[in-house]
Symmetry: C2
Subunit: 501 residues, 2 copies
Amino acid sequence: MAKSKKTPRPKAQTPKGFRDYFGADVTERSEMLAKIAEVYHRYGFDALESSGVETVEALGKFLPDVDRPNDGVFAWQEEDDGDWLALRYDLTAPLARVYAQHRNDLPLPYRRYAMGPVWRNEKPGPGRFRQFYQCDADTVGAASVAADAEICAMLADTLEVVGIPRGDYIVRVNNRKVLNGVLESMGLNDDSQRDAVLRTIDKFDKVGEAGVRELLGKGRLDASGAYIDGVGLSDAQAEPVIAFLTSKGETAAQTIGNLKAAVGDSKIGADGVAELEQIADLLAAGGYGPDRIVIDPSVVRGLGYYTGPVFEAELTFDIVDEKGRKRQFGSVAGGGRYDDLVKRFTGQPVPATGVSIGVDRLLAALREKGRTGLANVGPVVVTVMDRDRMGDYQAMVAELRNAYIDPSDPSKGKIRAEVYLGNPKNFGNQLKYADKRQSPVAVIEGADEKASGMVQIKDLVLGAKIAEGASLEEWQDRPNQFEVPRDQLVAKVREILEGYA
Amino acid sequence: MAKSKKTPRPKAQTPKGFRDYFGADVTERSEMLAKIAEVYHRYGFDALESSGVETVEALGKFLPDVDRPNDGVFAWQEEDDGDWLALRYDLTAPLARVYAQHRNDLPLPYRRYAMGPVWRNEKPGPGRFRQFYQCDADTVGAASVAADAEICAMLADTLEVVGIPRGDYIVRVNNRKVLNGVLESMGLNDDSQRDAVLRTIDKFDKVGEAGVRELLGKGRLDASGAYIDGVGLSDAQAEPVIAFLTSKGETAAQTIGNLKAAVGDSKIGADGVAELEQIADLLAAGGYGPDRIVIDPSVVRGLGYYTGPVFEAELTFDIVDEKGRKRQFGSVAGGGRYDDLVKRFTGQPVPATGVSIGVDRLLAALREKGRTGLANVGPVVVTVMDRDRMGDYQAMVAELRNAYIDPSDPSKGKIRAEVYLGNPKNFGNQLKYADKRQSPVAVIEGADEKASGMVQIKDLVLGAKIAEGASLEEWQDRPNQFEVPRDQLVAKVREILEGYA
């Protein structure tokens, strides 16, 4: 039989580069962000939530190496007035706009934090999405490096509060002014040569000291076999840059001493070293030792962008990567001082410093450390043996939901419970459903149980453990399914939940 | 002197119809949403976060009365493949797409909640923004009205958990099938006349019983003096509609009885009444009495859209509106059963029911009831008397931030504190800053205090109270500023914070 021709059905698909987040992927991120917000708030930072949409004019040019104003962003034109609007690509450009727009009403300095999605109109790739979360804290209008020190301290506290133990992270601090001093003392006044040196330094993370030496000199054969031209400096000329990158000593005092030597008699270099010294002193006064925050001139990420102190938080515990190799987890946050962001709008330079946490990376690290998932227990499922007694089952779930998991510690919350709402005819489907929901417990009350005032309790975690092949010995004291009087339902469910906490 | 011509500075402005949210406006909403999420999770609903961007194809036509596919949404065309993308305008259309896309992996029934911004490309107006929050919970794939009853119970629990006391809200339940039965028993088979009756019923909230009578008959002079044509029914024909709308009795049983009479021998009407009866029974079994949830056929909002049970939560306490008149706060949430959402994608009808909370309205209600703002205390501000001793001040804020507000109740969190980071030269500016930050306490340590091991503590809440003209009597025991030994700083700050909690 020929079907009548109709509009084809729409495809049920996320646009390319976008994705859906389900259950724990949403709640674990929310919980992490709530903990971060608590620390930021405690440090005197205020929440700011600007809209996802900005004028293209206010956003400004996105990537410095892209010509068209809308490249890299999702943009469209308003129908009535022809204005171009776009989705924000980060949280810093909106901060500059907000500060310029509301500066008369905001405190000065203005400390703010922001968390939320940003959008990038880029080619999606594996693990690279066109919408993702950012989480920023910035201080606008404070010239003192006390503001930078504060952000480093806050970052260290934040990592511990979300669940990264002391010893498993390090916040490293460097300063662009010191690098400027090094370049000045080298006599590099040619801008293009300076830029080439900056770009080379940026590769220090990847190619190491020897690689940077080659790239500052004649050039280098890279891993793919291609020859990369060097900057063309002599060994002697390159030496101060190397001295800078490798100047970290045993103590902050030693590092500072090495840096003083590296900048020679450059004024800006001396200023930069003094700033690092001041940051080190302030952090020591606040009780943040070198086991948490260190002065480390090998931090190069963002040195080309920032104008003063630069910081980066690295997680130092080992993970096994996709190729089975052991490596350190690496960077989860970075930031620094930048001074010209608001000037675009007002003509006035306004000092600012801030940090951005890589939300997805930090969340991945917490999963790696087993620091998430406590709240991810599935619900107790009350099954439906007799569809005419739905009221009895509703009464059970209401009772469970109103009961604390642990009456001695209400902070653990109340019992999660639901009644089966599908077609109850096939009881096997109800148990399959409970498995899919990762339920710890199924409750069963048929006509016989009802008549004798009992309920059946099925321990689904035990069932799953047995299915996984766990040694039965450790579980054999627990019966898989048992009957209890109806008025002991809550108590027995609590017992099972406690056993698996 | 002539300035060199440059690109004009960009305007620092939100696009029309968008706004920024600062401080408490952000955190109070987050806290409310977190409490709602806790209840939804406890009921077995799982979080879902889809992206803000969907294909226009998947979103489908927005408003039923708008022809162009992109009207009402912000949309743009992809450069590489010409696909049209758009910002989501609600959370229901994405749910339909997600369910159709992932249905093989999702449990059936699928309970999910979603919270987040949605965008509407509409003319902005006072209080009407083009980006706002929605907060939805839906059950997909459950045909039983037990799913509807569950959502009503969850809504009542949610309102109490966020801070609306029992007695200050009521959840009302109606059913579209009952209305269909009434129309059927009236013999209205002409679609256009049915639609006209539906549209008229929708005005019951505004024009009341007498108004609906006129509009179902010859017509009515509206408040602006314009004459609105009626549907043209005789008084006798209109009677069943009026009987339906006014059928709420003293008890659920009476209401059900009245409805049975109103639907006559319509089969669908009888089904609808039976569903309402079942919902009333299930709610009674779960302990939800008529002080919280009632069957009320006067609920008409959404009756034209939904296909079965319809529910609405109203706040019943009085507020004073902008014209000084006392009125009830009104609706804060609504929902119902709809069956064809997923069919667009799969061709299969899937039953679904859900509720949407008006985030901004509920938040406004909580503010009205004084249920927010507990976490909105400004930070303790440590002033800078001597800029060379920034380390001492950093040590103070670190100590304060590490101290619980109330050591006997860690759930109240730790003390919020910051050091002044602006130019410290003008001390008056530091105190003005503390006022702007709504700080409860300023801490002062000059050279004299340092030498004698003391700090000055300035009680800024007291100062503000005096400035407000509060009776000094109630405050006179509190000195405005006093000196304490440095090692009692935390204890004294705690005392002041407790006094104002």
